[in-house]
Symmetry: C2
Subunit: 97 residues, 2 copies
DNA sequence: TTATTTGGTTTATATTATAAACTTATTTAT
DNA sequence: ATAAATAAGTTTATAATATAAACCAAATAA
């Protein structure tokens, strides 16, 4: 009746990050921070979890002399997001057959 | 950009309970337990939280000689659920304008 | 040269979800 | 009649999570 919800995605900030990356395909840490309103610390932890799970890729590079962390969604992440959204629907639809 | 998600509803079991009650209007504890697959302890705690928040009403009665706990959604709960679903959409829609 | 800002990471805390253990009463079996 | 099993939960303990606070290193600005 109710599909289980991937706990990695069922978390406000991580879901926001994934949502951003689904449509942006690639985003820098400060941009994600700004768009989500998260603190750097919280974002750092959550990005790490998504990365460890293989849902996103994190590339550490430089922009001029400054460090620059770029995040990209992976196929696995895209897949997981879709599955999550489908699962969510089982909780939101009014008619339960 | 991203609407905040009511933490009371953004939890798998509580969301399932609310989802059930939205369409059933009234349900007994053992029925909810069966439908959600939750343990009695977990369900008891989560029902309590929803009740304390005023999202559901809990009536303790008897069915013959056995105790019977009936749960009903309140207007406040219905409202909160709707708001939550709207907020969720900001995370799920592909186009972010 | 000493603040200040940028771009983060690490560590600590507080909350939460969940399960395990327990309680009380009722059936059912012996 | 008594003991075992089941029903219907509640309470307590534990483990996981989210989040913020503190910290660090390098670059730029005063």
């Amino acid at each position: 009746m109710f599909q289980p919800l991937d706990p990695l995605l069922h978390a406000e900030l991580r879901l926001a990050v994934m949502s951003l990356l689904i449509s942006a395909d690639e985003a820098e840490f400060p941009y994600i921070k700004e768009q989500t309103g998260a603190t750097a610390g919280n974002l750092s932890v959550q990005v790490d979890k998504l990365s460890t799970a293989g849902y996103i890729e994190v590339e550490k590079t430089f922009k001029g002399k400054r460090p620059c962390t770029i995040c990209r969604i992976t196929d696995k992440g895209r897949q997981a997001f879709e599955t999550y959204v489908e699962a969510l629907k089982s909780y939101l639809s009014v008619s339960k057959s």
